[in-house]
């Protein structure tokens, strides 16, 4: 069975600085998706970034980028130029691409606080 591990329950960063959130996963599959979701205090889960395992290039969305290391099964999220609105809980998630009906598997989350 696949598992996702986020080893940092809490992280903090100052405005305008850069922070990296860690995620590792375990799978025997070769074709899958990895995601980072953000959950602000409003509780609405928002997709931050997506990576397809067959793509070697790291995904980037504005200030958010990932470091995808397939052999090491590592998928970290880097937030550059942090803003107060980035304060939230961040979840790393895995989803198999091999089957039509599979669910996302989530890590336990990292709470990010941003100070001014």
């Amino acid at each position: 069975a696949q598992t996702v591990t986020q080893s940092q329950p809490e992280m903090s960063v100052q405005e305008a600085e850069t922070v990296t959130l860690s995620c590792t996963y375990d799978t025997s599959e070769s074709d899958y998706y990895l995601f980072w979701y953000k959950q602000p205090p409003s509780r609405q889960m928002i997709l931050v970034i997506r990576q397809e395992a067959y793509k070697q290039q790291n995904a980037t969305e504005n200030r958010f980028s990932v470091n995808f290391q397939k052999a090491a099964k590592s998928f970290s999220l880097k937030i550059s130029d942090s803003q107060l609105g980035d304060a939230a809980m961040y979840f790393c998630a895995y989803r198999s691409r091999n089957q039509a009906g599979t669910a996302l598997i989530f890590g336990k989350g990292t709470t990010l606080s941003v100070s001014s």
Partner: protein, 114 residues
Amino acid sequence: DVKVTQSSRYLVKRTGEKVFLECVQDMDHENMFWYRQDPGLGLRLIYFSYDVKMKEKGDIPEGYSVSREKKERFSLILESASTNQTSMYLCASSRGTATSGEAFFGQGTRLTVV
């Protein structure tokens, strides 16, 4: 805009009551999911459905059942609510994994069982 709507944002029920949590999506998605979110435990999958009338157990199905009579609606049922089912419940939907794979979430239902 993509939308997943959960019927209640907050709910308080008594122990032993039968509880229905409803979720509707307007994106014609094949897959729908129910997760439970607890502090320090992340999101845990209760049940998911990959087609109408089809369901699969997730990691923590005990004490729950689901119903999917129509493609757009996926209901979570607590047959006899207990205090240990006090939690945040999140519904999500997605297309099949041949496309983007991402899931879209509702706003969550915070259920308190007293």
